[in-house]
């Protein structure tokens, strides 16, 4: 793929917690329209990587560019502006539990009216909810929703600002297999509808098989192996094979 299609570029990224190096000269490229799946053991630094990408956590060294901008050293205003182009689906959905579904979705819109561009707030909320198949849940509180519904509403909140990149942190974790499949297909539909690129962290190999255009295996802080799902599935390296058992 061409370089001007590159949305995220990571070079030699390092991050350590004390003596524990979680990212050790890690490299990654995410291109427009691509679904890149990142797999790794628990505690291998996958979520840390996502948090570094949105400026929630600082990295120690290396380069991390999102939409051509280096995250380190960005001012708060520039970072907030960049964040509107990055959607983030949290592992536990992270819906604001004191707000209704409508308020959850209007929260980012009210703070970034420049992203609405003349459209009505209600129409955008309705559109986002229809795209995740939960238009009827608009006045419910998060506690009134099932785990799968919460994940869908969180996805609706993620896409409401029409981001160019969506970061998924274990999108199917904690869900039953049927609901997990629904979420996987929803992610694919959303990608086609909004033309986003996605970086997906998952342990769910079914999810990786269906969603991924490309996969990276994160091991010992480095990109240990890289390729399509089929390429990695047939890889003879025992550490790679362990992920497919």
């Amino acid at each position: 793929m061409e370089d001007n299609n590159r949305l995220i570029q990571i070079r030699d990224l390092c991050k350590a917690f004390g003596e524990n190096k979680v990212l050790d000269h890690f490299n990654l490229d995410l291109h427009a329209g691509e679904n890149l799946v990142l797999v790794g053991k628990s505690g291998s630094g996958k979520s840390v990587l996502l948090k570094c990408m949105v400026g929630l956590m600082e990295y120690d060294s290396g380069s991390l560019q999102v939409l051509g901008q280096e995250i380190r050293g960005m001012g708060q205003y520039e970072l907030d502006k960049l964040r509107t182009d990055i959607g983030f689906l949290f592992q536990g959905s992270a819906l604001y539990d004191s707000m209704t579904v409508r308020e959850n979705l209007s929260f980012p819109l009210r703070r970034h009216p420049e992203k609405i561009a003349g459209a009505s707030e209600d129409d955008l909320i309705q559109e986002a909810l229809e795209n995740v198949g939960l238009a009827h849940a608009i006045d419910l509180l998060p506690e009134e929703l099932s785990g799968g519904m919460q994940r869908r509403i969180a996805l609706a909140r993620t896409i409401i600002l029409k981001p160019r990149i969506i970061l998924y942190d274990e999108p199917t974790s904690g869900l039953d297999p049927i609901t997990a499949k629904e979420i996987i297909h929803l992610i694919l539909e959303i990608q086609q509808l909004y033309h986003t690129a996605a970086l997906i962290i998952t342990h769910d190999m079914d999810c990786a098989r269906v969603i991924s255009n490309r996969m990276i295996i994160l091991l010992n802080g480095t990109n240990y192996a890289e390729g399509t799902f089929q390429e990695l599935q047939t890889n003879q390296d025992p550490q790679v094979r362990a992920f497919f058992k």
Partner: protein
């Protein structure tokens, strides 16, 4: 004895925590006057803090006035000083008992509620979700709650004082057949500017301390759901301690300026 139980370690922890709260308060003052302003959330928090505490504060105030009058009346009678009851109770309530007791109740109710709410938002990544949506969670969550507590606690203290004096009047009316007009004219004749101003000013500091400690504890809470409980609990303990320190300083300053 474990490593963390020594007196030196505990003192060091107190100093470190006080420093961290001071830094948190400094961030508050740096951000409170800068836009964007979250007026809608400020109004909501003011309503929650004021409205949800008013019944508890009023009930406590009423009992406070009743008990104080019932307990002191026999002693005052022994010296033939019943006529001084309204003045004595009025000054005690307005200067000290009303603000301190009300603030302690608010520390329990408001401080713990803020600590638990923000702590829970922290561990469920709701605060992180706000941040990645390009919103400053400190402005939305902390500034609104601290300002609301700073403005609402003085109002609650005024209400508690009023209800406590009403409770005291009821005892005086039953026991001494004192009329309402006589009772309250005696109270207001003896309360001076020097009683009222320092007592009111310190309640703003009480409100600020409750808000900032509750928010600090919740906003920096760690270690999952157990951390939420700890945040709520220590918000009450630390803010109560701060209230007594502020009260002590306020009395010293008032003594210098108003010669109490």
């Amino acid at each position: 004895m474990t490593k963390n139980s020594g007196l030196w370690y505990q003192m060091r922890e107190i100093v470190v925590e006080t420093g961290e709260i001071a830094l948190f308060a400094r961030r508050f003052f740096r951000e409170v006057f800068n836009p964007p302003y979250e007026f809608r959330e400020l109004l909501k928090q003011s309503y929650i803090i004021g409205n949800k505490s008013i019944f508890l504060v009023a009930t406590t105030g009423f009992i406070m006035g009743l008990v104080l009058t019932l307990q002191t009346r026999p002693t005052m009678s022994q010296f033939g000083a019943e006529a001084w009851m309204p003045a004595m109770v009025g000054i005690s309530i307005v200067r000290e008992i009303g603000p301190v007791i009300t603030a302690l109740i608010c520390a329990g109710k408001i401080g713990s509620s803020i600590g638990a709410e923000l702590g829970s938002m922290k561990v469920t990544e709701q605060i992180a979700a706000m941040e990645v949506s390009g919103t400053n969670p400190f402005k939305y969550l902390v500034i609104t709650r601290v300002v609301a507590a700073t403005l609402m606690v003085p109002l609650l203290v005024i209400i508690a004082d009023g209800v406590a004096l009403t409770g005291s009047y009821l005892v005086e009316h039953v026991k001494g057949n004192v009329s309402m007009q006589l009772y309250f004219s005696q109270v207001f004749r003896n309360i001076t500017f020097g009683d009222l101003v320092p007592a009111t000013v310190k309640t703003f500091f009480f409100g600020f301390a409750i808000g900032i400690v509750g928010c600090y504890k919740g906003y920096t809470s760690k270690k999952g759901t157990a951390g939420v409980g700890r945040a709520a609990n220590s918000a009450v303990v630390v803010s109560s301690l701060f209230l007594f320190i502020i009260d002590f300083i306020a009395v010293l300053i008032a003594d210098i300026f108003f010669e109490l």
